[in-house]
Amino acid sequence: MSEKQLQEKKLQEKQAPKPKSAPEAKAKRFCTISDVEINRLYTADDIDQSKLAEKLGEPGEPPYTRGIHRDMYRSRGWTMRQFAGMGNARQTNERYHYLLAQKTGGLSVAFDLPTLMGYDSDHANSLGEVGKCGVAIDTLADFEVLFEGIALDGVSTSMTINSPASILFAMYLALAEKQGVAWDKLRGTLQNDILKEYIAQKEWIYPPRPSVRLITDLVEFCVKEAPQWHPISISGYHIREAGSTAAQELAFTLADGFCYTEEAIKRGLDVDSFAPRLSHFFNAHSDFFEEIAKYRAARRIYYKIMKERFGAKSEKSLKLKFHTQTAGCSLTAQQPENNIVRTAIQGLSAVLGGTQSLHTNSMDETLALPSDKAALIALRTQQVIAEETGVTNTVDPLGGSYFIEALTDKIEAEAMAYLDEIEERGGVIECVEEGYFQREISRASSRYQGEVESGERKIVGVNDYVIEETGPSIPVLIIDREVEEEQVKLLQKVRAERDNERIKSALAELQACARGDGNTMYPILDAVRAYASVGEICDALREVWGEYTEPPVI
């Protein structure tokens, strides 16, 4: 019997149903939230000891399973980055000043849905949505207010924007020009990950191919003009929120990143010129150990593929850096205070998994945008983990645990199988167009939903431990509807005061560029400097590329 067979046999024995005399094993399945079966006990037999050293490495050493830094949080804590943005630019600017005073580590911009979808605030489709889920931005004039009193070379800014990312980034660059800050001093991250939009979040404008070209243009631009900026945050967060398993989140996210890498290399960029600026963004869900295993497997796979497939040489290209946000989909409207507890445990898993930055959700997320108090508790949760629990004292404290290492191997294998499958199907874009990801996720999410409905999976306060409640017991933030009217007035004022001839020629130039193969960043910058609006620029590109409709997958 080969070693592998031996191990399989042992595994079968361990998972085999207990004899009838052992009532504790009756019918109940022990599975992670992603339906990975968990054994009663993990021992040295679950780990291939001969390969352990090679699989783990030292922290800061390949394959980076134990983390990308030698000293991890002993030398530098993670960035506590709280997503914020609501109403108009003025209100968000006030929130930023408040957060900076609370010693938050970086700014994070949440845009409203019209901005994310490339519509101006006065577009018919924007009705009722302006300023609702984030800040409303139409033109550079709004950006000037958004960052009033904040020097752009003194902060690191993360912007959650995808399809119109180039436009909002161009506004940031134009604002830096106005502040007299050189572009190479700018630090921050754009989400700019369109592939996961097709897979999960569905905030797309154009079809996949021109969308990926926009991203490649931006990557190329950053290599040349803004070398400190992270042009893409390759995001699994939304894939998970859409109901995927942990392994799917991992595999689909990495596949997206490899697709961008491939495109940039095709463009003629050296992998080591841009790969160090790629970052990832994962979810921290409720299954504590599974999440930790996921982050560790992520680093190991990334290292291997960047090295072997793309020939990256720079150490920075081989290290997977990631931001984490706790799982919004795990929060409940019932007994919302319980969400503080969920978030704390999820945040802890991200820290034990070696995250570089963290967003902890506010307890009122399922009810409305975070109130000041809820947002503060969320930030304090991270500070408690960092300052009081002691988990930062040593690097990768769970490394070598039989269970954690076995689970890391298992998730790695499952994710690798998905990556192979995607390749076989012709790559990420083909899989998007054909609905593959959507189907896989939908299957996983139905399975989970079924478990909750049947009561097999318990959600505290929802299908068990339920109490009578009358309405939300926590105060929630309501965005008043005047925001929309004000924003529309502001936009119309800008339109009346700017040089509209200049806009016309800038947009025509952009369309010409889009039809050809130039870098779209430069004409977008020109349009933004002239105070062209997000909607106008997107419309110009819609005319050239059309809009995307997804294959229906239910």
Binding site: L113, P114, L116, M117, Y119, A124, N125, S126, L127, G128, E129, K132, C133, E197, Q201, K202, E203, E241, A242, G243, T332, A333, Q334, T366, L367, A368, L369, S442, S445, S446, Q449, E453, I459, V462, N463, T470, G471, P472, V476, I478, I479, R481, P552, I554
Partner: protein, 145 residues
């Protein structure tokens, strides 16, 4: 297929996502659940305007319209659909929905004519029972010829 004279009416429901957010996981779960409960579900997809939703409901001759709004625009979009129904002279199609809706708004909407607003965590059985019992009950009985 043989033609028979016995009527085989089914509950028909239109499910739509108005507004700009793309979170369609919830509405797809509902779509599948209603189908499995023996209903005919017409799913119209993302980013539908109140006008297209009501037009579709009329063309499909549905008994009810279910919408999901997670973006916070419920106080604009629900009333806009109600207004559109009124404008088209429709008074026998039930409007219901779900989303992140604070209790205070839920009460207002239900008073304004939305038959029922479900909030996160509502059990699917409850939604199925609601559709089975409340939707399609008050279809106007019109003379054919």
């Amino acid at each position: 297929m043989a033609e028979k004279d016995t009527s085989n009416k089914k509950i028909r429901v239109l499910l739509a996502k108005p507004g700009l957010d793309g979170h369609d996981r919830g509405i797809k779960v509902i779509a599948t659940a209603l189908r499995d409960a023996g209903m005919e579900v017409i799913y119209t997809g993302l980013r539908q305007t109140p006008e297209t939703i009501v037009n579709a409901a009329i063309e499909e001759d549905v008994d009810g319209i279910g919408v999901s709004i997670l973006s916070g625009a419920h106080m604009t979009l629900f009333p806009a659909i109600l207004a559109q129904l009124k404008k088209q002279g429709v008074d026998d199609i039930v409007l219901f929905g779900g989303g992140i809706v604070p209790n205070e708004d839920k009460e207002k909407l239900e008073k304004a004519g939305v038959k029922k607003v479900f909030t996160p965590g509502a059990p699917i059985v409850e939604i199925i029972d609601f559709v089975r019992n409340e939707v399609g009950r008050n279809r106007a009985d019109e003379k054919i010829m």
